[in-house]
Amino acid sequence: MTTAPPAWPSVEELAARIPDGAMVALPPDNSLPSVALAKALIRRGARGLRLLGVPVSGFATDLLIGAGCVAELQTSAISLGEAGFAPRFTAALKEGRIRVQDATCPAIHTMLQAAEKGVPFMPLRGLIGSDILANRPDWRVIDNPFAESGDPIVLLPALSPDFCLFHAVMADREGNVWLGRRRECATLAHASREALVTVERFFDGNLLEDERTAPGTISATYIGGVALAGRGAQPVALLDEYGFDAGYVAAYARAAKTQEGFDNWLAVELGGSEKAA
């Protein structure tokens, strides 16, 4: 039984809440990024965004970089998967148009967990001897106070993105959102000041009331806004709803080898919508 959704904002209205210069976190291509919101940011001509890959970056990030929306990227890796390196990222890095801060996957999770917990830092093993650490003056090495003898360990500062954007299966009237096993988005929502979410459909009930939907639900407490966006993760997969569109991404990768090719691809992609200046 489907009824009309409540008076949710449009995807464009949601994107308009994200000011230029904001730190925006995106999950990777296997964990429900909202490509719909990324495209809306491009349509509104966002500038100076500081993107965070949680913990790595993919299609939506390359798109935003190509469209000139991004000033900084913190991530543990960026690629288009089988379609290879992220072409607009690589070009922007070469041309000095974006600042890149390299991390390693568990470090990004850990910084978000520190923010989730409200502590100023968390430790993480590994990292010592890596040039990642050598290039992160914001990370510290201390001697483990619980060890008998010297035991250096890295402390990572808490990181609270201004916004995180993801795409879920459904949301209810309260603003609870359901995304099944992809519960890592919950930590991201907890750590972010505001989570903006697109969903496939409206759920007419309370997702937290039913024991069967509750465990895959993120409470509205953490959700700043929900918009309806059918196939809003596409070309990325959404659980068992739809698969990864490898052909679409491969076509993008070919087109985006040059800025001109990217611009043409984007003009077609954004269709009738006015393109960002």
């Binding site: 890796a77 990222f89 390299d102 390693t104 890596s130 040039d131 360990i153 096993r181 930590t187």
Partner: protein, 248 residues
Amino acid sequence: MIQPEERLAAALAALILDPAAPPARHIAVGAASPIPAAACWLVKKQGHPVRLSLLHKRHGNPFTEGSRELFDLTGQGRIDLFFLGGGQIDGQANINLIGTGDWPGQGTRFPGSFGSAFMYFMTPRTILFREEHSPRVLVPQVDNISAPGVSAPGVFRRGTAQALVTGKSLFRFDPATARFTLASAHPGEDAASIRAATGFDYDEPAQVAVTPDPTPEQLALLRGPVCDEMLETYPEFCARVFARKAAA
């Protein structure tokens, strides 16, 4: 005809089962790693009890906390073996996934370090795997260290590289000396051709063994039940190597 990928999978499987190494009860396999994944499935289909966590399996993905759960699992000491590659790998088993030239890869930029700066320390053993075997990849010293091959005394580390497998050969790694030793050359290669293709210095036995072919039983497993398991995640690989296509 034995495919090169089949030989590599069998060589990796032999390393996984190496009785001298710490036991591999639970192996994790990362993104875009069809040959390591095939090796793990081969071990499992040969009847060895091993738990496989395949990070990019879409259906029945074992993690409900995403990749954080893999790193936590590894932190807990529950992952025994992981595979790592590198845009550059050097003679001390340092790996570079960042790029060449100045930080952060002003020459050729690679995708980035993923979890390597953690996994390399926290798994009892790592198998380094890179198909391209050239002086460009196997360098005397990596330009940027994503994860170091060995660590100073006192730095918490559960293990190091067990071996490096390439499209031409198999090297063993000794963490005490931080050096590789050539263990076997794949058919068609010899000591001299490996030396010429390798940018870093390494040790070499008087007689270099030939990497063995997969047994007929292994080939049957690879082309049958192993391929069945891999079709969904690696359709292109299965089509190319095993000439099998997923059902439409």
